[in-house]
Symmetry: C2
């Protein structure tokens, strides 16, 4: 399996260059990527926005919403890219259109997969570490299961702050991300990787690397552990739970 999973938050040219570079390395010399825009309501607008921001990394993005036969488009794809937005909407649409099994099967047979934000969430066993609002109710929270752990995208540490003026910030007291992941572990024992914005995980077969970090690993009942960019995380693929 060849996977590139990104946290989201690719703003600014340095972060965007890092993503483009990783995409070129990951997909290589193919011409066209099958792009799944279903986390956003308007597929055409999404493809246009990526092209305008030069976030196609030189590939032609073919939106799955434009395919006359989506299953055939998946069967024929040379690379697949699932974009961000709302994870509930994404998995709901993937279920309704019967895309889960075909995508899972092809990626497990070697089709290179890129998932950013919601697209990284759905690569996990379930979508239950999403940060998104439950605007629709999917028939199941099960996702593609391309890795044996959960990713929490757009991860950050500590309380958030709201900007209330020039250089002035007010602390916000909602649950921290660590609180939410602890709540997850009260229900489910699967490890969670908190991936900071613009972070990238790369899997090639039995190898897993933190291509761009940092990252924080949460396990049920244990203190979280921080990992630096470049860390070899391959052991996480071999754990038996």
């Amino acid at each position: 399996m060849k996977l590139l999973l990104g946290s989201g938050g690719f703003r600014g040219e340095e972060r965007r260059d890092a993503l483009r570079h990783a995409m070129r390395q990951h997909f290589g010399d193919i011409r066209r990527l099958l792009f799944v825009p279903y986390a956003i309501s308007d597929g055409d607008a999404y493809v246009d926005a990526l092209n305008r921001a030069d976030l196609n990394a030189g590939y032609e993005l073919f939106g799955l919403h434009r395919a006359s036969d989506p299953i055939q488009a998946i069967e024929e794809a040379e690379g697949i890219y699932i974009g961000g937005g709302n994870t509930f909407r994404l998995i709901h649409r993937m279920q309704i259109e019967g895309l889960i099994d075909p995508i899972r099967r092809r990626v497990k047979s070697g089709l290179p997969y890129l998932g950013i934000s919601a697209g990284a969430n759905v690569a996990c066993p379930t979508m239950q570490t999403t940060n998104d609002m439950p605007i629709v109710r999917p028939a199941s929270f099960e996702a593609l299961g391309l890795v044996p752990f959960q990713v929490n995208t757009h991860y950050y540490k500590g309380n958030i702050h709201i900007r209330i003026g020039e250089g002035e910030y007010e602390e916000h007291f909602g649950e921290t991300r660590d609180d939410r992941i602890r709540e997850f572990h009260e229900e489910i024992a699967v490890p969670v990787l908190g991936l900071w914005e613009s972070g990238l995980l790369f899997r090639d077969g039995k190898q897993l690397k933190l291509l761009r970090g940092p990252m924080r690993l949460f396990r049920r009942g244990q203190d979280p552990v921080d990992f630096k960019e470049g860390s070899d995380l391959s052991d996480l693929l071999n754990e038996v739970r």
Copy 2:
């Protein structure tokens, strides 16, 4: 119907005093409140924490998890208080224990209701404007429907910022709360009230007041409108959709 709905974020004595005062006004001279702790995994710890922080407002908090017959406890309650935590867990447990109909029936017949954070979310038609992580999958997103609008608790405006050092903050690029509510309105037309932390809404029959604010009202396809503390919001109860 008598409802007091709070946003959460009741930190610091000024905010806590405001909550205690509102609770005394709301519940009056009763002795005991039936407290529903199911948004948190440990009911005893939750009741203890509220008592220690003097957030019982002088009432005896009787945890529903301690009731030998929960339905009877609801039937006999003089006031009910649903606390915060994870909204998915809360509604899931309320469904499993068959609490939704009995609570809805009693509150619609005049039992004073207090809901903070997750407890305010479940007073709405659905729990679909929660900020929480989907750590369990409830059989339905339907909630108590005590008001004809959604509340988004812990509301804030703009991007969030992470504190990275003394007086130093980094901008975070995940969806803003306004982005998430816009996504909600792409799917569902119900108005959403964004209630800032420590905000309080009070309903008495056909009257609805922003007891403590501010608040931002979102309607599908319209620009949001800000409301100040003390605003009369009764018109929101009479809207026909």
